[in-house]
């Protein structure tokens, strides 16, 4: 990490950080966008990990999507992130693409951003002065290809509260085809089910590929709190997703399509809550 800080210290605005390269290699080959220096983060084994630290799950920035989709801790404590990772690109892309690169690249349709937003992730960074800083993901993602990262600042870690046994989470996306597809719309859903009260608590809904960056549908989350698990709630969830899409991109040419797509997407995510983690008794 000292080595990284030293490399970052010499960074200029033309310096690019390589965290896998599936987006960056194309970018640096465009005429006029040659970087002065490329700092390859993938050689740093210290940045590739998933570990449980008390009740916090910590994911290193250069953990690949292949690693995330097959990690037992991710399956147990952040399933929506594993599901999102499994649907990124192709096997070839998942083998080298990393969660840190996915976020730093700041594509509005980044699957990882939607999942991490639902998980309430914080981002830890290191800069050229050796300063370690942690901020909410929402403060880092500012818009399409825009982040609050300084030119000498690298993402080192994502951290969030590990989901417990009473939690369920899901990720769904809609693209132009079933596999190897860029999301036209994505959703991540986290819920906690309280068996005593028979109702949902801690509902979190994140939507991606609508607007500049993934966001939480706060009003919808409020509406779903305390609701029972039934068809009416599923419908309310779908309607809320449509409303959130509508508010996020009013007047956009893609709105008529995304309004409809949001319904199917919502049901995909909802159904997956039951499917991916069947256990007893009943739904939890």
């Amino acid at each position: 990490m000292d080595e990284l800080a030293a490399a970052l210290k010499a960074a200029t605005p033309q310096t690019r950080l390589l965290a896998g390269g599936t987006d960056l290699v194309r970018a640096v080959r465009r005429p006029g966008s040659e970087p002065d220096v490329i700092i390859d983060l993938t050689g740093l084994d210290e940045l590739s990990y998933v570990r449980l630290d008390g009740e916090t799950l910590r994911v290193g920035a250069t953990t690949t999507f292949t690693e995330l989709q097959s990690d037992p801790l991710v399956h147990e404590h952040a399933l929506c992130l594993g599901l999102a990772a499994a649907q990124v690109g192709s096997a070839q892309i998942r083998n080298v693409g990393t969660i840190g690169g996915n976020i730093a690249n700041a594509s509005p349709c980044a699957d990882g951003a939607t999942a991490l937003t639902a998980l309430g992730a914080e981002v830890t960074t290191l800069d050229g002065a050796g300063t370690v800083r942690t901020r909410p993901l929402g403060e880092l993602l500012l818009g399409p290809s825009q982040t609050s990262l300084a030119h000498d600042e690298a993402i080192t870690e994502f951290s969030f509260s590990a989901l417990g046994a009473a939690h369920r989470s899901a990720f769904a996306k809609i693209g132009s085809r079933t596999a190897v597809s860029v999301a036209r719309l994505s959703a991540a859903l986290v819920v906690r089910f309280d068996p005593a009260a028979g109702s949902l608590t801690d509902v979190r809904v994140a939507l991606g590929a609508v607007g500049g960056a993934a966001f939480r549908a706060a009003r919808l989350e409020q509406e779903l709190q305390g609701r029972p698990v039934d068809e009416d709630t599923a419908r309310l969830f779908a309607e809320g997703c449509v409303a959130a899409v509508q508010e996020s991109i009013p007047g956009r040419y893609s709105l008529p399509y995304k309004r409809h797509a949001a319904v199917g997407l919502a049901y995909d995510a909802w159904n997956m809550l039951a499917l991916v983690a069947p256990c007893e008794p009943a739904w939890v």
Binding site: V25, S70, V96, A282
Partner: protein, 233 residues
């Protein structure tokens, strides 16, 4: 910059630009032109090679990223002049038409079989999802990979594909969707009545994919009219 690259078991010292792609170095510096350039943006998979046993698109990887790693290209599949079993099956099943995607297909399939010697058809399709073919319609390719894999063992649950398999099932399989609806209904009914549904009510993730061991085509001989089966596009 100087770079040591280990390709097909041989270590080469090459002089590369820092922004040179692995694909450029393999083809232009080492003369390994079996690896093809297609889209040049990580979509088509024609440039697929293995790095430390994992399939990667060599068009979106810098050569320096492969330093100190084992690279396997299509030229490294044949040993002592003898085609790899996978290559033999591609020939046998007519899984090649124009041939441009074939090296990439072979390498993605090789990575799959190295990690999972007895993949299900679903596993094969997921592993090849990043390799586009505009000629064959894929059926013969999937059959060839299946034929090159082990035949007797029962496919185990493979963690890496699991999440994606489930996601694909949910998105596409009406049978699964029907089961999901049933399960949710039963669970909701169970909640309101205070009784739990039997755990057997939950679908096995493997169930909708059909009998796992059953090959799409007889494995001992090439399928007849494999091309026609896909509608001859």
């Amino acid at each position: 910059m100087q770079l040591l690259l280990t390709v097909n078991g041989l270590t080469h010292e090459v002089e590369v630009r820092p922004t040179a792609r692995l694909l450029d170095v393999l083809r232009d510096e080492l003369g390994l032109t079996g690896t093809k350039e297609g889209c040049a943006e990580g979509e088509c998979g024609a440039c697929t090679v293995l790095v430390d046993g994992k399939a990667v698109n060599s068009c979106v990887m810098l050569a320096v990223q492969a330093r100190g790693k084992e690279i396997l290209t299509v030229e490294g599949l044949a040993e002592h002049g003898e085609l790899d079993l996978l290559q033999q099956k591609f020939v046998e099943y007519g899984a090649v038409q124009c041939g441009y995607c074939t090296p990439g297909m072979l390498m993605s399939a090789k990575a799959l079989l190295m990690a999972n010697p007895v993949p299900s058809e679903q596993d094969i399709r997921i592993a090849l999802a990043g390799n586009l073919c505009r000629c064959t319609g894929y059926a013969a390719i999937v059959a060839a990979v299946k034929a090159a894999s082990g035949h007797d063992a029962t496919p185990a649950m493979v963690l890496p594909g699991e999440a994606e398999e489930l996601a694909v099932e949910v998105a596409t399989d009406p049978e699964t969707l029907a089961i999901v609806e049933e399960v949710v209904e039963a669970a909701v009914a169970g909640l309101t009545e205070g009784t739990a549904p039997a755990p057997e009510a939950f679908p096995s993730p493997d169930a909708p994919a059909g009998p796992p061991g059953a090959p799409a085509a007889p494995s001992s001989e090439p399928p007849e009219n494999a091309d026609d089966a896909e509608g001859g596009d």
